[in-house]
Every structure is written in C-alpha cells, then in structure tokens.
Amino acid sequence: MKYIDEYRDADAVGRLADRLATEVTRPWTIMEICGGQTHAIVRFGIDELLPDGVTLVHGPGCPVCVTSAATIDAALDLAARPDVIFCSFGDMLRVPGSKMDLLTIRAGGGDVRTVYSPMDAVGIAQDNPEKKVVFFAIGFETTAPTTAMAVYYAARENIGNFSLLVSHVLVIPAMEAILSSPESSINGFLAAGHVCTVTGYNAYHAVAEKYRTPIVVTGFEPLDLMRGIYACVRQLESGKYEVDNQYARAVRPEGNIPALNTIDRVFEICDREWRGLGTIPHSGLKLKNEYAGHDAELIFNVKPVISAESSVCISGRILQGAAKPPQCPAFGKQCTPEHPLGATMVSSEGACAAYYRYRPSHNRKE
C-alpha cells in the first residue's frame, strides 16, 4: 500500500541503524510514548536493530491500558442494563475491570456492540429510539475529536438517547508526570505522530525546554521509527533539546484546527485516574455542562468507586518506563493476554502484550 510499503524498506532501515551505531558515544534511554509505536517496534523488531547504547522504553500511550478499572466497572454496569446498547471499540471488550470484562457481560445477555467509528454508535441510537445507546469514549487527543463530533452531532440532531461514557486522556500531562518522577531515566521522547496530527507540536516546546529533553514527532512505520530514534540520538549527542518533526507528511505545527475546535466545543479538562499510574491532574477530558444530557455518568448516576488492582502486577512502573515486562514476576505466568492482570497486558498494544506476543524468549537479557 502506498505510504506504507515504501516505509518498510528493510535495507534502508538496516543501513540507518548502522549509521546510528557510528554516532552513539554514550548510553541513551528514549521513550516512545505511544502504544501503537510500541506495537510496531516490537512487531518489526526495531529495538533489536539498535546499537547497544540506545534503549527504548515503552510509555503509557495505550488508551485501552490506562483506562481505570473503576471506569471499566462503570462501563460493565451500564452494559448489563437491559435498556442499554453499549458500543465500544473492539479492543476495549477484553479489558477486565476489577472482576470481569465486557465480553462476559455480552455472554450474560448485555447488548455490547463493536463499532469502527463513534459515528456508527450515533447511527445505532437513531435506529433504536427505544434504547439508550452509550459509547465508551476512550483514547487520546487523536480519538477525542471523533467522539466530540459524535456528541455534537447527536445534540444538534436531538438524538437524546445517545450518550458518552468519557475516559479521554491527554498526552502532555502524562509526559510531565513521567519526566518529573524520581524514577525517570528518560533522556529523550518520541512523540506520537498520530496524536500530533490533531494537537500539532507547538505545546511540546515548553516541555522540551523545562525538562531539557529532546522530543521528536515520529511516525509508525519501521523507517519512520528508525528515523525518529536517529534524530533523537543526534540531538542527545550534541546536547540539544529541541522539538523536531520527523513525521512531516502527516503533522503540521499547529495541528488540526477543526478537530481541536470540536474538542474545545464539547470537552473541558479534568483530573483523570490512569490505570497503573494513579490520578494525574488536568490529564483528562470530560463533557462540558451544556452536554450533560449526553453524559452517561450523569444520566445513569454512575457512582465513583475505588477499584483494587493486582498487588503483583508492576504495570505502573512499566508505564513509567522504570521496568520492562519480563521483570514482572507474573509476566507470562498468572498474567497472559487471555487473563491480563494489569494495564499493559490488556491491550494488544500494551508493552507486556507486545512482549508476550512477539518475543521469542521472555527471559532474554534486558
């Protein structure tokens, strides 16, 4: 496919890795924040091509993984109601709350549907006026405009039986939480290219400056990833900490203005609990008051609950880049993709799931 195949040129990736090796003089630790990039890195074995001095750690950029167990429990309650059609992206269905997952609710008779787009859920609401249709609005800034548009459209068209259970999260507060953690060993960041198509990267300048950390906007194909890593290492080697866009075919500095406007129209910033990381101030989005009629939390009077998380699981440290999956005692034993204990195993994009799925040896040296 165009814009995919030419960025999977194995020869060019290998040569760029060789080139990188000649420029590394010290060990560097780089975090790719985005789970989609984690997935691609492990799928294509990009980290195995890197010279010894360059280590990648996997950040909390998987929205499915970081959705709190309490929010999932709320979703399960809603999905089990006979008057509700609960719509979700497919990968959220397997994620356990404190006890079970949406697949189990569906098996028990709950009407749980997988949709490709939030707009499809609006269509389901129009087709089923006697039911209440709830869409599970998860995701970072890439996804937020799509759910914002769904609710904006529903409000405009008076589709009163459509609501959102919102658990959107924001990238920059998570990056700052990681950078300011005493455990942080991150020297540089690969910023998530697809989030940046929406947000742009102007806001990253202050972060790069404050933490003296280079941030490179990076795409998702092997050549894009290697290029992002190369650009990041080059900055580190020369003592720079700038924001650099290596995904220029998709990302503009100012981002996507219509998408950002739609987010602003519908959502406002709130504190958000992240699974494995705890509550991060100003790190989430919630519906504005004028959309209260489409807010599932208010409509169904969802009570906040504190959900217990596994005591063995170290997903919080993995999300911060302070540990790698094989270091967890439960990894591949009690905790597998079929029975995930924590955030990073639940989505196929999570760091633990990616390791479990793709690594020939789980005991290899890290």
Binding site: M1, K2, Y3, I4, E6, A12, G14, R15, L16, D18, R19, T22, I33, C34, G35, G36, Q37, G61, C62, P63, F89, Y116, S117, P118, M119, D120, G139, F140, T142, T143, P145, T146, M149, Y152, Y153, R156, V171, A192, H194, V195, T197, V198, F220, L223, D224, R227, Y230, Q246, A248, R249, A250, V251, R252, N256, P258, A259, T262
Partner: protein
Amino acid sequence: MCIAVPGQIKSITGGDPMELRGVVDFGGVEREIMLSFAPEAKIGDWVLVHAGFAITIIDEDSARQTLADFDQILGEADANGEPH
C-alpha cells in the same frame, strides 16, 4: 496510541462540514468516512483515517522529502566509507 491508516479519497458528498463525508479506498477496501476535520480535502488526496474520520491530509511533497532525506543520510554514510 491510535491506529491511523492511509487511504485515498474516491468521492466526496455533503457541504456542511458536519455532514462532509467521503469514500476512502484502502488498497481495495472502501469505507465512507467523515471529512469534517479535513474540509479542504479533494478527490484523489491521501488522508490518514482514525475511527472513521480523516485526521490529516498526507502531504506528498513531505513524504517524498522524507525518503529523499534518507538517501542523503545514507549517502553520507556511504561517502564516509562506512559499511552497511
């Protein structure tokens, strides 16, 4: 973080940005997607699609430039006589 896949716009319908839709081809699979966030997109443009929305128009010149840059970086390596 988010799957977004390149596809090419085959047709466009609707004028109001909220109703602006297009059929996008992903190498032989088509779907109607929202163009609300890419209102300036034209038929034949390539867009990145996430959750049924075009989130950005792919810039052909930048795409070409990226590949040209590689040749340059790798060319430097070759000129320095480094192995590959």
